[in-house]
């Protein structure tokens, strides 16, 4: 038992994908889950019932006693949005590396070439990063980046503005300029289920304004992006995320990652973290 790790809500399934009962791993321990009469259930290895929440298209549970409700995403409730269950991808890396990669824009021109970024538009301008103490979340705002095709609904290159939010250690919410509706934000999330310290299941979920693309087009777009990220995530050494400075070299563009690591350390979240230099 480690309260700092166990007392969080974790995504464990996409609700629309639960047919038969099944087993999975959460923080290295076996759990089982299923749905009966429209309600989801989760059991730990001893058969004891775990708490559940059904939200954002996913089933959430906790092996501990969460001391707060699952975070909210008020923007996602506004009418007219298409809610997209992207599905899942299993990745051989620390759940924390998966989140950190999601917070990173500097890789767009090299990893998502000609989609989310393209040379020579590689510069990352200064943006604002803060740990919002009142809600205990990491926030990065005023993040701007030139993108050849920011979304399935984008017609050509635009400078996209982003906001990033880390409301829980293995979850991130991204708000980005919405091509068809200037002034509104598309919501793209990354919910990460820690299977073990070096293996995770990633559940992206989106709430978008897009009347043009079909559901499967939006899903394939996001899946393509994530496959590109996976080729990176499975090839970083060490697999765990180093929390102490020294092993890796951040620059100004990495301010969000620096804040994320610092926040994890502050709240004692060490699952999937590398604490001593290897």
């Amino acid at each position: 038992m480690n309260a700092a790790i166990d007392n969080h809500w974790y995504p464990v399934a996409m609700i629309s994908g639960i047919d038969a009962p099944r087993e999975t791993l959460l923080l290295g321990k076996k759990i089982s889950l299923g749905r009966e009469d429209g309600t989801c259930w989760v059991l730990d290895a001893s058969g004891a019932e775990l708490p559940t929440v059904e939200r954002f298209g996913h089933l959430w549970t906790s092996p501990g006693q969460p001391n707060r409700d699952l975070f909210t995403i008020p923007e996602a409730d506004s009418p007219g949005r298409r809610l997209v269950d992207v599905g899942s991808v299993k990745v051989k890396c620390s759940p924390l590396r998966a989140v950190e990669n999601f917070l990173d824009i500097a890789h767009f021109p090299f990893v998502h070439t000609d989609i989310l970024g393209a040379e020579p538009h590689t510069e990352v301008d200064r943006y604002d990063v803060k740990i919002r103490e009142e809600v205990d979340e990491v926030w990065a705002t005023k993040v701007k980046f030139y993108q050849p095709q920011a979304a399935k609904s984008a017609a050509g290159g635009i400078t996209t503005e982003y906001m990033y939010r880390v409301p829980a250690p293995t979850c991130s919410v991204l708000y980005k300029t919405c091509p068809p509706r200037p002034g509104e934000w598309d919501v793209i999330t990354l919910f990460v289920q820690p299977l073990t310290e070096e293996w995770c299941e990633v559940w992206p979920w989106m709430a978008l304004y897009d009347d043009e693309s079909t559901m499967s087009e939006m899903v394939s777009f996001q899946q393509l992006i994530f496959m590109q990220d996976r080729s990176i995530l499975e090839n970083q050494l060490p697999r765990k995320l180093p929390l102490d400075p020294g092993m890796e070299v951040p620059t100004q563009a990495d301010m969000t990652s620096v804040a994320y690591r610092r926040w994890l350390k502050k709240i004692g979240y060490t699952y999937g973290a590398q604490l001593v230099a290897a």
């Binding site: 021109p109 090299f110 510069e123």
Partner: protein, 200 residues
């Protein structure tokens, strides 16, 4: 420490980078457009990405994750996210002594004063992975050092042995220029079968 064969020249054409290893040391092996070879630690100092997934641009090796470029000395000289910044000298990749001789790429992890192995005009035939540790392979030929070349009576072949894991090694075989490549190659496969205890 001795020179260890880490690959054949033809595996790393100019402008290419490939992964290789000597036991637990993972390497990014690359060749500049003008044909100079480099063997580096296979880890980018920025965020730990394998440099062997990167790309050669001019005389630099660039990391695939954020495009940081490292010059031939291993020092970071360009960070695309900050094009106007001159990166501090402290950002560098550990590099190892590396040279090409006789169509084989050689690396010495600890640095060495020893001359490169003498190959007697032989040319590379092929590389073959064998499920046997490098010391066990050397012992089979009664050789005392496994990193240098075991001389074999058949076909006047030379075997350059690259230790990979506790149970595997890579054998880079060379033979006289006029040797029949198919025959030597076949002999090598038989040798592997014998060493691995598999009936051929």
């Amino acid at each position: 420490m001795d020179w260890v064969a880490v690959g054949l020249k033809e595996d790393v054409p100019p402008g290419m980078v490939i992964p290789s290893r000597i036991s637990d040391t993972e390497l990014a092996l690359w060749c500049t457009p003008s044909g100079r070879y480099h063997a580096w630690s296979d880890r980018c100092p920025h965020r730990g990405m394998r440099l062997s997934h990167g790309f050669v641009r001019g005389d630099t090796l660039a990391c695939i994750y954020h495009g940081w470029q490292y010059n031939e000395a291993g020092s970071c000289e360009y960070i695309p996210a900050h094009p106007k910044l001159t990166p501090p000298d402290t950002i560098c990749v550990p590099t190892y002594a590396c040279a090409e001789a006789g169509g084989v790429i050689w690396v010495s992890l600890a640095g060495t004063d020893m001359p490169l192995p003498v190959l007697g005009g032989r040319v590379p035939i092929r590389s073959l992975q064998i499920s046997l540790s490098a010391p066990d392979l050397a012992a089979h030929f009664g050789a005392h050092s496994f990193t240098t070349i075991a001389v074999v009576s058949d076909h006047e072949a030379l075997l350059a042995v690259q230790p990979c894991t506790d149970r595997t090694c890579m054998v880079h075989a060379l033979a006289a220029p006029d040797a029949d490549r198919k025959v030597v190659s076949r002999w090598l496969e038989d040798l592997r079968a014998t060493l691995e205890g598999v009936p051929s």
